[in-house]
């Protein structure tokens, strides 16, 4: 059994488990599945100032931090105890070739280690890939009213038109970014 778990999981297995989180949170306490709201609750709890958007009873939503905390713990457990050591992630060969041509060298971990390391923090690389990327995620997700969890899973599963539109434009942004912007960014930072 443990051997089975240690292998990378099939997409259908992973999708089913993620899908089941939706009813699980509802049954456990009428909670709607979503992640990005946790960012907002931090703003509401710590930096609300005179901003009306953050003037709400954030204590009603602390369940979301407990949920997010679980994700961090779960990821630690999985990568420490439930993974075969030294197993490289299998990436589509076409994507490996494309990324190599951009200048990515390290394909051994879940993230390109030559990009995502503390040493890059104060370089243009770090500024764009983690600081700027994070800003767009935080700003965009709240402007859109949810992220991939809230809109693309919870919202679509509840057949919401607004969520379908949001999901379509998540993809539009992603396609533009991955195929047009990212090649340009790599030219800029190399």
């Amino acid at each position: 059994m443990l051997e089975l778990i240690k292998q990378p999981w099939h997409w259908a297995v992973s999708g089913t488990v993620i899908g089941l989180i939706v009813p699980l949170l509802l049954i456990l306490g009428n909670k709607k599945f979503g992640i990005s709201s946790s960012f907002r609750h931090i703003c509401a709890a710590c930096f609300s100032g005179d901003i009306k958007f953050f003037k709400y009873d954030w204590q009603k939503e602390i369940w979301n931090w407990f949920f997010v905390g679980g994700i961090i713990i779960g990821a630690f457990i999985a990568s420490t105890f439930l993974t075969n050591p030294g197993e490289a992630i299998r990436i589509a060969p076409e994507t490996v070739e494309t990324l190599k041509s951009y200048g990515v060298k390290d394909f051994t971990s879940l993230l390109p280690a030559d990009l995502f390391n503390w040493g890059n923090l104060f370089s243009l690389k770090g500024l764009i890939f983690f600081v700027f990327g994070g800003l767009l995620i935080g700003f965009g997700t709240r402007y859109a009213g949810g992220c991939t969890s809230g809109h693309s899973i919870m919202g679509l599963a509840n057949l919401q038109k607004a969520s379908l539109i949001a999901t379509i434009f998540f993809m539009v942004g992603g396609f533009i970014s991955a195929n047009i912007l990212i090649p340009l960014i790599f030219k800029l930072v190399q």
């Binding site: 089913t16 992630i89 990327g133 965009g140």
Partner: protein, 168 residues
């Protein structure tokens, strides 16, 4: 002793539901440690994130370069399973484990679902993660992603600050 002694005003409830789908609809007040059951759910979620390699920056590039079906398979399956579950919950008029009726809210469309979603999508491909996977990447040992999370919180704050000036 209860953690939440504050009684919400209608205005506060309205603001709390603004620009989000992810809300707590329960009217019950429990001690704070009742929330640990969501930590357990989160742990399962975090394990799937890592085991399915969904938190990989490379998987996101594959998805948007259309070189792999994997992410489409994961999200598609999750939506179908989620939708079937919600249908069943509605049909059976299921209650939560505390006997509370499970409620569903319809979300109104606004232009943020076009402008905001496109901005999010651009950030999604650059950082190679959406909000859930950001937390999972930190748990997997990529501590530098904490910077991305702090940036995302900052981005959320900037949105809140300028919300009234943005087209909706």
């Amino acid at each position: 002793m209860t953690f939440n002694e504050h009684v919400e005003t209608l205005e506060e409830i309205e603001i709390r539901h603004q620009d989000t789908l992810c809300t707590n609809e329960s009217h019950l007040v429990h001690p704070w440690w009742y929330n640990f059951k969501y930590t357990v759910v989160g742990i399962f979620f975090g394990i799937v994130f890592v085991k399915a390699e969904i938190i990989s920056w490379f998987r996101i590039q594959e998805m948007f370069q259309l070189t792999s079906f994997f992410m489409y398979g994961v999200i598609g399956t999750a939506v179908v399973v989620g939708a079937l579950s919600i249908m069943l919950l509605k049909k059976l008029k299921m209650k939560s484990i505390y006997g509370e009726v499970i409620t569903f809210e319809d979300k109104q469309f606004n232009k943020g679902q076009i402008y905001g979603a496109t901005i999010f999508g651009i950030g999604w491909a650059i950082a190679g993660a959406c909000p859930g996977p950001l937390f999972a990447q930190v748990g997997s040992g990529f501590s530098v992603v904490l910077v991305t999370i702090v940036s995302a919180i900052t981005g959320t704050w900037i949105y809140g600050k300028f919300r009234d000036k943005l087209p909706h």
